[in-house]
Symmetry: C2
Subunit: 236 residues, 2 copies
């Protein structure tokens, strides 16, 4: 058997779990496949990567097709390579997640390349997805959970100006547990990466909250010390 017969017969794809935060829910973008293989089933956006394309370029392309934005925060998570994971041949896939900021795009935009919808993460985790995408979704959500505790990536999901309660809710949704309001604020503010604005929420039927924005300068300047560790219940 020639070298080329045994190898160079496989393909690889990137799949990208796109997380979005929609005012009060953490969501993922899932597509309903309009073509074979797995036509009709729900799946994570992804595509085969061409021979002349880097992995990141592949992900960028998928993101453009899915939400029509470039330059999102993204991170490689894991590579899945079960021999029979793809019906068309040997296709391994490199899983990424990306975070989209609601400030940057309009939900229900017509920009999707095919039928696509946002699903609450908790719901998506229960759905049956095509290929090995359930596993991929789980792995990516798991990574997001870890990452959010060691780096301030939450801001990638929020609008430029946000309240501390919004931020806390986001963390609660990602970590899947309640956080103490006072402790959360103490912790976040002590990191000194938020700039308080002279501006407040408007049109809410209660005391309006102060708006903050993330200070990327300060963040990059600071030596990363502790990470963000919130009150984890000991007895659980």
């Amino acid at each position: 058997m020639k070298f080329e017969d045994q190898y160079f017969k496989s393909a690889f794809s990137v799949d990208c779990v796109i997380f979005g935060f929609d005012t009060n829910a953490l969501k993922v973008l899932l597509i309903r496949r309009g073509a074979e293989p797995m036509k009709g089933s729900l799946a994570i956006p992804g595509d085969l990567v061409s021979i002349n394309e880097s992995l990141e370029q592949g992900v960028e392309r998928v993101l453009n097709q899915s939400v029509g934005i470039s330059n999102l925060y993204m991170e490689q998570v894991y590579t899945f390579g079960r021999v029979d994971r793809h019906p068309d041949g040997r296709v391994i896939t490199i899983a990424y997640y990306a975070l989209v900021n609601v400030r940057d795009y309009k939900l229900s935009a017509a920009s999707f390349a095919e039928s696509a919808d946002w699903y609450p993460v908790s719901e998506a985790l229960e759905l049956e997805l095509g290929f090995d995408h359930n596993e991929i979704l789980q792995a990516c959500f798991g990574q997001l959970k870890l990452k959010v505790q060691s780096a301030p990536i939450g801001f990638e999901l929020l609008p430029k100006k946000f309240t501390l309660s919004q931020l806390q809710l986001l963390y609660e949704l990602i970590l899947e547990r309640d956080l103490d309001k006072r402790n959360f604020r103490k912790k976040i503010l002590s990191l000194d990466i938020l700039t308080p604005l002279n501006e407040k929420q408007k049109g809410v039927a209660h005391r309006p909250a102060k708006l903050y924005q993330f200070d990327e300068e300060k963040y990059r300047a600071m030596k990363i010390v502790g990470g963000l560790n919130f009150d984890a219940k000991k007895n659980s």
Copy 2:
């Protein structure tokens, strides 16, 4: 262009950084390549994965060729996919690391499929390796550092019976910093995953140390709480 012309023309490999602990040094196994491409250059053991082989099977095969052992602790780290990273075509590689326990094999064994040697990690990080293997080595060592602080994988590198000083030295080598003896012992023993043996070091020119062994039962039974966080200097 046909579908098959554009895709299914790539290959993928696994590369596996094999860490070993040799009495008082943390080492990696590097091979000197005896065949093209990159003949003559130092590299991390690895090989193309065939179409009918899972990623883990590929790694197992590489490990067998390199150190002649199966069933090592291994972990996937990252996938490298630069378009031009391999001279023979589009080959992406999935990087793993594995930990070998000196109790299980003899160093300088004749079992290596080709010229292979153990290099101290610190030294290996300075060498020029083939392909993008410098990057891979760095990524794997970085992962090992992280992992060793959240799971007791250090034991995979030690003989079955070991002293606390050996364990501490190993941690110091992996974390690349000194640890306080008393704090280290307090911490490790408080985890309650070591069984003290009624046995001591022999033939050492000083007070002989008590031997311990890792208690996998206890480890699996315990709910993983804190992780292993040692004294990290604040001001560094």
